[in-house]
């Protein structure tokens, strides 16, 4: 997201709340989210993919909504209007290729309408078929979840992504030999997929409220949080979508402050640290242990400032629109142990994994394997959760190892904390020795995470191991 996007979104948010006494808010959120879908999508080497990806995102969203329709219900008139409006907007984006200097919302010239119309027809027919034959049937939700996970695997596993690129290049009559995983840059799909999976799982558990298509699309594609979260809950989002928080000067001040702080974190601090943050090339070029540490610190602070800054902007924009997006960061580098760290880093993702993986798995294991000691179950659940969190970033050995590193750390702290409780040890207090202990704990926790960041910054286990050896002067 660039500054021009943020300026436009801020303007749209204020307009949404002020125009017509706020009665245009929901339509502006909906239409703004659809427009942002196309506007934010970066260009790709494969022709027109910067149009087809947003269309696919909208199509996925609409189709998942049809899957989660309660049994025996039909889409209301308002839903058909929203669907027709969405399809019309997509067609309009395609037609903008003829608009001369006004073209284009997409990064490159969109495909011709006679190519787009059949795709929209397919989405419409699929939706109709789902409504007619599948809605209300819970197994359909499970299949949808598995398809979304499959999609994420294709997008995160390099050989599969490359194969997808080759397939798409072939379809577009472009060189297949140049197929690369980097061709497939699908804006926000990880976050969209997680929101959709959350909805499908809640639908399976009868926890999902009845949502209109406009509410559903606005939730999944909410433009402030489209590219990188936070991942909100549908029921919570829709409550404020239907009944927005009032726009007071206090809200404007809070939201504005949040946006300004986010801009500073992301564009001033994070982008400056990006000049020196550790990566493969810099690690290979650096011949000094000291400067390697400096680059690692640079990387560790950069990822926090970049992500936290972006979250601040999203939360600020959400607040302007009367939606309280969940917090994503709570000063993680100041936490005295890894458990508190992971309760304060990318909190919405951690909450998601806890709700849809960790707790169901641990409950199922406890029920199924009663003889298994609880620590073993905790270890397994924590390790696999964190490894999945790692793999969510990309299916590579490095992300897997990074996840395992976090899992081991979490389990170690879990056991240590349990032992402390068993000894009825008094918590770290406010005495000077208590404060000192807290400082030491914070430094230890931070450096545990910092050292794990090597796996994150580099692309191969060999390169990562080489960096560790050089960081500690062994090489």
């Amino acid at each position: 997201m660039q500054l021009i996007h943020i300026a436009a979104f801020t303007t749209a948010a204020l307009l949404a709340r002020l125009a017509g006494g706020g009665r245009w808010r929901n339509p502006i959120i909906l239409i703004g989210s659809l427009i942002a879908l196309f506007w934010l999508q970066p260009a790709t080497p494969i022709r027109n993919l910067d149009f087809w990806f947003p269309l696919a995102t909208f199509g996925l969203t609409a189709l998942v909504w049809t899957v989660t329709r309660p049994a025996g219900t039909r889409p209301a008139r308002a839903d058909w209007i929203v669907l027709a409006g969405g399809l019309a907007l997509i067609l309009a984006v395609s037609l903008s290729r003829y608009a001369g200097p006004l073209c284009c919302l997409t990064a490159s010239r969109p495909p011709q309408p006679w190519l787009v119309a059949p795709a929209l027809l397919v989405v419409g027919l699929l939706g109709f078929a789902i409504v007619r034959f599948v809605s209300g049937r819970k197994p359909a939700a499970l299949i949808a979840v598995l398809l979304l996970i499959g999609l994420l695997i294709v997008l995160k596993l390099d050989p599969l992504t490359r194969a997808a690129s080759a397939l798409l290049r072939g379809l577009m009559e472009q060189s297949v030999e140049q197929a690369s995983a980097l061709d497939i840059r699908w804006l926000g799909i990880s976050y969209v997929a997680f929101r959709l999976i959350h909805v499908l799982r809640d639908y399976q558990g009868d926890r999902l409220p009845d949502l209109r298509l406009s509410e559903f699309v606005s939730y999944v594609l909410f433009f402030p949080a489209l590219t990188a979260g936070p991942i909100d809950r549908a029921d919570r989002f829709v409550a404020e979508y239907r009944q927005p928080l009032p726009l007071t000067w206090d809200t404007v001040y809070q939201a504005g402050s949040r946006i300004v702080i986010g801009l500073f974190k992301k564009y001033a601090l994070a982008d400056t640290l990006a000049l020196i943050a550790l990566d493969d090339m810099r690690a290979a070029q650096t011949h000094s242990t000291l400067w390697l540490w400096v680059m690692l610190y640079g990387f560790t602070f950069r990822i926090y400032l970049d992500f936290a800054g972006y979250s601040d902007i999203a939360i600020g924009l959400g607040r302007l629109l009367g939606i309280t997006l969940p917090e994503n960061f709570d000063r993680p580098y100041g936490k005295p142990n890894l458990t508190e760290f992971w309760n304060s880093w990318h909190m919405s993702l951690a909450t998601w994994f806890r709700a849809y993986y960790f707790h169901p798995l641990s409950r199922a294991l406890i029920r199924r394997f009663k003889r298994l000691p609880t620590p073993a179950i905790i270890a397994f659940c924590q390790m696999t959760t964190m490894m999945l969190v790692g793999l969510w970033h990309g299916i590579t050995w490095n992300f897997l190892i990074w996840g395992a590193w976090q899992g081991i750390g979490l389990f170690a702290h879990n056991r240590w904390a349990a032992r402390q409780r068993a000894r009825a040890t008094a918590p770290v207090g406010a005495s000077s020795s208590g404060r000192l202990r807290r400082v030491v704990n914070v430094l230890l926790t931070f450096h545990f995470f910092l050292l794990s960041a090597v796996w994150f910054a580099l692309s191969s286990p060999a390169a990562s191991w080489d960096v560790y050896l050089r960081l500690f002067g062994v090489k």
């Binding site: 007071t248 000067w249 206090d250 404007v252 001040y253 809070q254 402050s257 400056t272 000049l275 020196i276 090339m281 810099r282 070029q285 650096t286 011949h287 000094s288 000291l290 400067w291 390697l292 400096v294 680059m295 640079g298």
Partner: protein, 375 residues
């Protein structure tokens, strides 16, 4: 931020906005009036937190951890020349174009780098330390601007490599570093009565608004970026992007014998020899050695008309003769090594040398200067 019990009211928000606007306007106006950028440029992490760069900043490829900027104070502050001169140091500055700066050469492989590493000793037994002040644009006036700033670093000798490409009148103000330092260049034009137009439209004369903080944001960002890149310079020693391959100098040449539309034969007045003289005058008591740098001499098609891509034979021969005559007439110390380096030791242009070619050049110059290697 407000506590939950005391929400912010409209008046507070409007006051904050008003104060922010006033502060913004005041800071911008103050910036425009005070022009603090030169002072800011002197604040540098180089030479204390990180080592000084071995050549002036240049280049915009992010992989080079380098950038081109026009802020002379910042450029010099980042260079190793800004560190204090040692008591036993014989300080030598090497001026020139991209060949001196070292396109495709690592810093230690440049002329100044190899001279510095050779461990030469001056006649008075001081240790020769050589500093690369080359900058990759061909313009004697650019060299003069750099020289004018460099003299405050107390050099003992200036080695100024020149070539015909730096002398045509239309090249003199073509360099962006000159265009963005109009006042300094105008001062030089006035002080030395140079045959250059102080009102040349090439000069970038910022308006008042362009001198505000907003207007100068790019220049300020460049200074910050230069300092941040100090970490990468210190850690990697990389300051240039090296392509995997490059094209060798053209050996088959065009039949065209034009040289910047200048009349045949060339005269001293048709080239910027006045700038050369101004540099020697500016240096004062500091001896200046002029070196006509080596060029690639082709033997392919039309090599009877042209030496290489840059120079038709007639123009280059005239230039060499004029240089030799002027040097003799005015007592300039002048070394002509135009054909000292074989064609095989040129890289991607008719003036850029390989490390070995640079080494050969270094020995030519050092021998001529009578430098001895330390025992």
């Amino acid at each position: 931020m407000a506590s939950d019990s005391q929400p912010i009211r409209r008046g507070s928000v409007l006051r904050v906005i008003a104060k922010a606007v006033v502060l913004f306007v005041v800071v911008n106006l103050a910036f425009a009036l005070a022009d603090p950028l030169p002072l800011i440029g002197r604040v540098s992490v180089y030479n204390w937190l990180v080592p000084g760069r071995e050549r002036l900043p240049f280049g915009e490829n992010p992989a080079s951890y380098n950038l081109s900027l026009f802020q002379l104070e910042a450029m010099f502050a980042s260079h190793e020349i800004a560190r204090p001169k040692a008591p036993d140091e014989y300080r030598v500055l090497v001026l020139g174009d991209s060949a001196v700066w070292g396109i495709l050469l690592q810093p230690p492989e440049t002329l100044a780098g190899q001279m510095d590493a050779a461990g030469y000793v001056a006649a008075d037994e001081r240790v020769v330390r050589v500093y690369n002040l080359g900058h990759p644009t061909s313009s004697l006036t650019k060299d003069l601007l750099i020289l004018s700033d460099a003299l405050r670093y107390d050099p003992d000798l200036i080695v100024w490599l020149v070539t015909l490409e730096s002398l045509p009148p239309e090249k003199q103000l073509a360099s962006p570093i000159l265009q963005h330092n109009p006042e300094a260049v105008r001062d030089l034009i006035a002080a030395h009565a140079l045959d250059l137009d102080p009102a040349d439209p090439a000069f970038v004369n910022p308006t008042f608004w362009e001198q505000t903080l907003v207007g100068q944001r790019r220049a300020l960002a460049d200074v910050i970026r230069l300092n941040v890149y100090g970490v990468m310079w210190a850690g990697t020693g990389v300051d240039q992007f090296y392509p995997e391959s490059y094209d060798r100098p053209a050996n088959d040449l065009e039949a065209d014998v034009d040289f910047y539309g200048l009349p045949d034969p060339l005269t001293a007045g048709s080239l910027a020899f006045d700038v050369l003289a101004a540099g020697i005058e500016l240096a004062g008591d500091v001896p200046v050695v002029l070196v006509n740098e080596p060029i690639f001499i082709g033997d392919g098609q039309n090599s009877d008309l042209r030496y290489n891509f840059y120079f038709p034979r007639w123009a280059y021969d005239d230039y060499r003769q004029i240089m030799a005559d002027l040097a003799a007439e005015r007592g300039w110390r002048y070394l002509d090594v135009w054909d000292a380096i074989p064609p095989s030791e040129f890289t991607n242009s008719a003036i850029h040398l390989t490390p070995e070619g640079t080494n050969q050049l270094m020995r030519e110059i050092a021998d001529w200067l009578g430098w001895a290697e330390s025992k």
